[in-house]
């Protein structure tokens, strides 16, 4: 009987740990392209489709997003065209109406990763999905 209790306890602990590990997993390891994807039967939210809608030039040289965007969009502090500010604006302006916060549960860590060893906050990236 004691063995059964031990086995049951171990199973329960293992299951709990597995659930915890899953909860800690990053659902968006590649940042932009993990959310901005084309899904069957839904509005195409891939970045090339969205940018085409707003008249952005085509993106033949973009291979990694958002790293390649830095070819034109400077990220230096103080630059008017700072890419970081623009992306923040798009995702956080009018938070009561912005779909990123209202529908998608938008959070800093969807796009950023925290390297806890160095303490550096990073920008996630991934290969283009178009």
């Amino acid at each position: 009987m004691k063995d059964r209790i031990r086995v049951f306890s171990l199973s329960a602990i293992t299951a709990l740990l597995a659930v915890t590990a899953l909860a800690q997993a990053d659902d968006y390891p590649q940042g932009c392209v993990d959310c901005h994807a084309q899904q069957p039967g839904k509005t195409n939210l891939s970045l090339n489709a969205l940018l085409a809608q707003i008249g952005h030039p085509k993106l033949p040289k973009v291979k990694k997003v958002p790293t390649s965007c830095g070819g034109c969009h400077a990220s230096d502090e103080g630059e008017d065209n700072e890419f970081a500010h623009m992306i923040h604006q798009i995702h956080y302006d009018v938070p009561k109406a912005n779909l990123y916060t209202t529908r998608f549960g938008g959070d800093c860590l969807h796009c950023h990763a925290m390297d806890a060893d160095s303490g550096e906050a990073l920008v996630k990236s991934g290969p283009r999905n178009w």
Partner: protein, 157 residues
Amino acid sequence: MKKVLAKSRNAYINRPLTLLGLMLLTLIAGAVMGGNAYADDYPNGCVSCHVEGTGALDMRINAVLDRLGHGKAADRSKVIPAACDRCHASSGDGPASALRNLIHRAHYTDPTANLFVTQYEGSCLHCHAMDGASGKATVKSGERNWTPIVGGEAITD
């Protein structure tokens, strides 16, 4: 007696207008609470969370730093964390390492055990503010919530 109770209920609960009023009040309260869901629970950053507490470990910055053996310089810092830049410059050029990386490490190392994450549901926006209109992410700050003692005297200004 039963008749009196029944009459009482009819008088106060079964009136359609009373019920309608209660429903409206509930809706208004819901709307107000919903609006507050966007309120910032930690408008002053560090000092909004790091408080003395009641019957618990003193978590004010000066107490925490004292336990870590940090120098007394922190006692004289008035605005937290802006004043920390005096030594912990963000550029990394100060006499001590940049505050940003230290603070990130303190709050995110070992996220499965770190109290900031596990107990306080720590989020970037506890310490940072996002100005959606400009897109600028800033560091919140607030006045120290302790009274420094220098030479045995309390410094109040």
